[in-house]
Symmetry: C2
Subunit: 322 residues, 2 copies
């Protein structure tokens, strides 16, 4: 298996200079008091295109030959990865095609098109989209930019870990969400290789603890349900490469309830003044639930901010938060 190394992450970081926003860490007196340790927030919700996904997508497309880029790239995510690919491709003048479900949310279609990508609709489930994308690869010679199970994607997402350690070398624990495992595996690889004493904790919704179960079982398990408000984490199986890296580098995987996720979204808006989507708020939820070691500073990666405004409004109105 072609796994990335710390050097790959460092190279990815070089390539991303001037492309991404470094998203400086934020501190929070409120969250630190509640967690009984210093809580740092890594606000990737403030990243271009609203999530960390640009890091991996750009790194991948940047690694292609000019000839490959000339033929164009394709992906089949309907969420943040689609926008990351579209944004990255435009920066490099490459054509991007995104396969979306026929019932895709119009705002997401518009955002993806807004970044210059061509949207192709196919079926209603993720398998139909993947097949359509693979068909278009065969037909047009596009290069596939997979959402997480790819060495360049992982190296790109891992740059989040290097930035955290550079800014706060004293960080004791880094907390990352797990969907397919691209962010968590990349950050764990980078952080543990650069500073072996740091702890890395992954977070999943309680309703789909497939990564935790996979780690325990020693082989990849499939989630029975993905019925979570954290739409970015609705992935049934982590990737092969992501699993191999998480086995090696991740110290623990914890789970949070749907209520804890909702509360974290509201607390982040109210106290930290950040709009964070549910998938990005699971890390703070885990910290506030006491699931993360509190010896030394804890950094919660807020992976994205692309939440529907109606959903954010409902959470602000309905979720009881002290």
């Amino acid at each position: 298996m072609d796994l990335p190394t710390l050097d790959d992450v460092r190279q990815a970081r070089q390539g991303l200079r001037g492309v991404i926003v470094p998203t400086p860490l934020q501190t929070s007196a409120t969250f630190s008091a509640r967690a009984a340790c210093e809580v740092l927030l890594k606000p990737e919700c403030l990243q271009k295109a609203g999530a960390f996904k640009l890091r991996g997508a750009y790194t991948k497309i940047h690694s292609l030959t000019p000839e490959q880029r000339g033929r164009g790239v394709i992906t089949y995510s309907s969420g943040n990865h689609a926008q990351g690919v579209a944004y990255a491709a435009r920066l490099m003048g490459a054509r991007a095609v995104v396969v979306m479900p026929e019932n895709a949310i119009p705002a997401k279609v518009a955002a993806t098109r807004g970044y210059g990508a061509e949207v192709v609709f196919a079926g209603l489930d993720s398998l139909a989209r993947q097949h359509k994308a693979e068909e278009l690869v065969r037909e047009h010679g596009y290069t596939m930019v997979p959402p997480f199970d790819d060495p360049h994607i992982i190296a790109g997402q891992g740059t989040v870990g290097l930035e955290i350690l550079d800014e706060r070398p004293d960080v004791a624990t880094i907390v990352a969400p797990i969907g397919g495992g691209g962010l968590c595996s990349g950050v764990a690889l980078a952080a543990k290789e650069a500073k072996p004493s740091v702890r890395v904790v992954g977070v999943e919704p309680e309703v789909c603890p497939d990564a935790r179960d996979s780690l325990r079982a020693g082989e990849i398990r499939t989630a029975a349900s993905i019925d979570t408000i954290a739409d970015g984490l609705r992935v049934r199986r982590v990737g092969e490469r992501n699993f191999a890296l998480m086995r090696r580098y991740v110290d623990d995987i914890v789970t949070v309830t749907e209520d804890e996720i909702r509360q974290a979204v509201v607390l982040l808006a109210e106290r930290a003044k950040l709009v964070v989507e549910p998938s990005g708020a699971v890390t703070l939820a885990a910290v506030l639930a006491g699931l993360v070691p509190t010896a030394g500073p804890v950094c919660a990666i807020l992976s994205g901010g692309n939440i529907d405004r109606g959903l954010l409004a409902r959470l602000l109105l309905e979720v009881p938060v002290a």
Copy 2:
């Protein structure tokens, strides 16, 4: 009149090192495209205590003698200034008293107490609060920390301008909200003395254009109404010192409608992933309304993020935004 100078602002900045967050500028492709110029955001909503007010309050309390600090400080604002004073006083181990209206919003009372201040209730209008505070000064020897009409307060708020110029020396226009004029006068003083070619534009709600009228008339005018959603700008008259500085340094004062303010709050949450209160969003509203020169980068100061969560939810649900 004891007006602050650029040196005072520079000294204030030294004193604030390690105390405030430098709130790095953010760029926005969306807003830049709409405004047809590069739009920079200065996110003071991410400042400690949720607004720029800590800068002035800390600078003022820091300027006192140990003996004065030992007797304690007092103020009579019920908004962000109260929290800034409470937070700053606690940092320096000084007692803080805040006089609030009897109908103060419980969340604001709790936040002020949360920062360790003692809250005293007095009457329902601003004059009653001010009189009560002055009475307590005479009784207990507290030092008054006024909300805007004070050289140290102005110098502290002016540090926002120096940070913007340091980070982006090429900025062409800086846009600041005007309530009592503390932020706008301080930023204008600092920015124009440090870089005379920069333009500084102040923004008021259309319903209370007293600063604009004052500048035109050459003397301070009183707002007939302060019925605006921008609660931080509900000030009937700018301060004497603030007026003197704005006359000298501010290039233009423009006004925005209540609808433009509401839309800017929603756009900032949806596109920039920032929770900004209406008073802090007037600057982006002015930029998007085409009221600010677009030759060169424009920096909109987002002065604070302390918006009631119910209000934010209603705006997200109700305000039509393209």
